[in-house]
């Protein structure tokens, strides 16, 4: 029997949306306030959904403490109270929340076995959120 287990985490980080591929003017046009050279920050909510077989002995898809530890070590220790633009993952990639979702997914992929990561959803504010469901989903969506 397969089911899914979800959990939400908070982290606070700063970023600036800017790409060297565009001129200063084009950056301002594309990113608006988010292009402010001094950066700005958010309280992000990171929601994970892990799906897989329910262990018949424990009744669990994934052990919550193991998930917490993986998220702490791989994601929160890295991004919480940090400047995302200075992280090696974002030296060549703009730290939009879309790309942050993808980075969190890639940092955690494989760490929740035997469950798999169904989605990573990052809420940048109460009104903006983004979701990444892995490459397999992305290629399926493109094909259809």
């Amino acid at each position: 029997m397969n089911a899914c287990f979800g959990r939400r985490y908070m982290m606070s980080a700063s970023h600036r949306l800017h790409t060297d591929a565009l001129s200063a003017e084009e950056n301002r046009a594309a990113y608006g306030k988010c292009n402010n050279p001094h950066g700005h920050g958010h309280n992000y909510v990171v929601e994970l959904l892990a799906c897989g077989p329910v262990d018949p002995e424990t009744g669990m898809v994934v052990d919550l403490a193991a998930m917490d530890e993986a998220v702490q070590l791989r994601v929160l220790d890295r991004f919480d109270h940090a400047n995302l633009n200075l992280d090696p993952l974002f030296t060549q990639t703009v730290p939009t929340t879309e790309n942050l979702c993808k980075a969190v997914y890639q940092l955690l992929a494989g760490s929740l076995a035997p469950a798999h990561l169904e989605h990573v959803r990052v809420e940048e504010t109460e009104n903006n959120f983004f979701e990444y469901r892995g490459e397999a989903f992305a290629s399926r969506a493109q094909a259809s």
Partner: protein, 139 residues
């Protein structure tokens, strides 16, 4: 296809315990949740049904009807009850959030299917605002 979700809340107590294991292993695997005196949560239940809106009413299902089904099938058995001691599906199964989502699906699916029109798409159960499980049917 349109997806319609109705939310409901219930408060219940439970503990995590596998009778096949010695006490030490239960304490080790389940931590504070293994306290045999139990503890409780305010659960939030989200029930999603999928279907085409009726051309006359514009409804996927009648929300009042769905509310009553949730009330009769789930809340009357779960709300202000002890899941391990009073709800039959947890007599031999640990009432984790995952298993609660599966059990609620089992209680709702026959009624939704029998009514025709819509199918049950998803049951999501929040144990706290930060922890939830969902079941979408199937094996």
């Amino acid at each position: 296809m349109v997806f319609l979700t109705r939310r409901a809340t219930f408060s219940a107590s439970h503990y995590y315990w596998n009778e096949a294991w010695p006490a030490e292993k239960n304490a080790d695997v389940f931590g504070r949740c293994a306290n045999r005196n139990g503890h409780g949560h305010n659960y939030t239940l989200e029930v999603t049904v999928a279907g085409r809106p009726d051309p006359v009413t514009g409804f996927v299902v009648d929300l009042k009807w769905l509310k009553d089904v949730i009330e009769h099938q789930v809340l009357s058995a779960y709300d202000h009850h002890h899941l391990n001691l009073e709800v039959p599906e947890f007599a031999a199964k640990v009432p984790t959030t995952e298993n609660i989502a599966i059990a609620i699906w089992g209680r709702l699916e026959p009624a939704v299917t029998a009514a025709g029109g819509a199918r049950l798409d998803r049951v999501r159960v929040y144990e706290t605002p930060e922890i939830f499980a969902e079941f979408r049917g199937g094996a």
